[in-house]
Symmetry: C2
Subunit: 235 residues, 2 copies
């Protein structure tokens, strides 16, 4: 049986050996939820970059749509911000998006030692689980957290994914047990605890409560984005 | 109302501002459980130090009893190891113990920026809670974890303490919510989940399952050790 571990924040990723493993990068509010939504709505590729400057440069040079946020807010110079609803536009079909976000991008770029990097969200939970179940690979669920801290929504997702793959993957380490327990204790109403999270409360002050609700939808999309050669494409 | 936060591992303590706060240092398996047991049985003071060399030197120079472990095992040169049962000896009454452990000592020494450092364990849960409830200070519960990773038993204790002080202290941050939820989901049988922890399973291979059971006893002792000027003394 393969194993599944949970890294609760990128600050702790150095404690994990990613060699030959699949990393599932997750930033529920809202980077990976946006990525999954965009790919599900026909975006061709998404290019996560570390800085605002890189983002603007790629946008200009390669005609990509610029997207992202700093501190939860859209940047003036970008075409779109970090709301999944913005990723649904018809005119983005077959286009490429270059994106930079506070936590999500960092998480993906800190997972490069892995054999494969998948993008997970509640929105594509079943697809991620199905892929992992037949992968015969050990898994590390890499939670983005918030500015290096541990957060509720990514930990909840880790627990939900552990539940989905429990027939093929055994929990390893205490964080995976904590995540699994947190999910099971709240499975009857994930929105209730998600709303209690610091991140949801922070975002609510920007008037984007509907983003939070959307991001908590389970398996709305079947798309499975993979990060490879600097960009996300659907597997 | 004051606030209570949880730092899940010393690796993340840099994310917390400890100024004017009370830190509760916790390493359930087994450093802080041993300290509480020793003080409850009449030990005069306990001196946590970072290295084996310092421990042996203080033992020799000041006639202190040497205690501690590396990797969960007693060191040959020390008088006692890291089992609470070893801290109960009659001949230690009014004696001083110098101790070094893998995780517990590090946690205390990484909390020096706080206004006050208390030593918490399930064994003195009620005493810690009573003190905090009347303190009018914000609190950070600092979990030792294991080699920098997050563990179940210290997180459970954090949740139990949050539950005890909820009338005077409001949770702040997602880790405090995670810890509180974990405790509430398992309050009916803490031993069951404690036995599932990596640490308990690691220790079980050394044949010290009875230590685990002992450390999970709630409020067996009323002693409250404080770390001040390099040593622990009962408040």
């Amino acid at each position: 049986m393969n194993q599944v571990e949970v890294c609760l924040t990128p600050e702790l990723i150095g404690q994990f050996d990613l060699t030959n493993k699949i990393v599932v990068a997750v930033d529920i509010f809202r980077a990976t939820s946006c990525m999954v939504t965009g790919m599900a709505h026909g975006v061709k590729s998404i290019h996560p970059v570390g800085s605002v400057e890189e983002c603007l440069e790629l946008g200009l040079k390669k005609g990509m749509i610029t997207a992202g946020e700093r501190g939860g807010k859209k940047l003036e110079e970008f075409t779109i911000g970090n709301s999944p609803y913005e990723y649904m536009r018809d005119e983005f079909q077959d286009k490429s998006i270059v994106v930079t976000t506070t936590n999500g991008t960092r998480t993906i770029l800190a997972s490069l030692a892995a054999d494969q990097i998948l993008i997970g969200a509640f929105l594509n939970l079943r697809s991620v689980a199905n892929y992992l179940s037949t992968s015969r690979k050990d898994v590390v669920i890499h939670c983005a957290g918030w500015k290096g801290t541990v957060n509720i929504e990514d930990t909840l997702f880790a627990g939900a994914l552990i539940e989905e793959i429990k027939a093929s993957h055994k929990r390893k380490g205490d964080p995976s047990l904590i995540a699994h327990q947190l999910y099971r204790a709240n499975a009857h109403d994930l929105m209730e605890i998600a709303k209690e999270s610091s991140h949801a409360q922070r975002l609510a002050t920007f008037g984007i409560g509907k983003d939070i609700e959307f991001c908590m939808n389970q398996s709305l999309y079947s798309v499975l984005p993979e990060f490879k050669d600097g960009k996300l494409e659907a597997i």
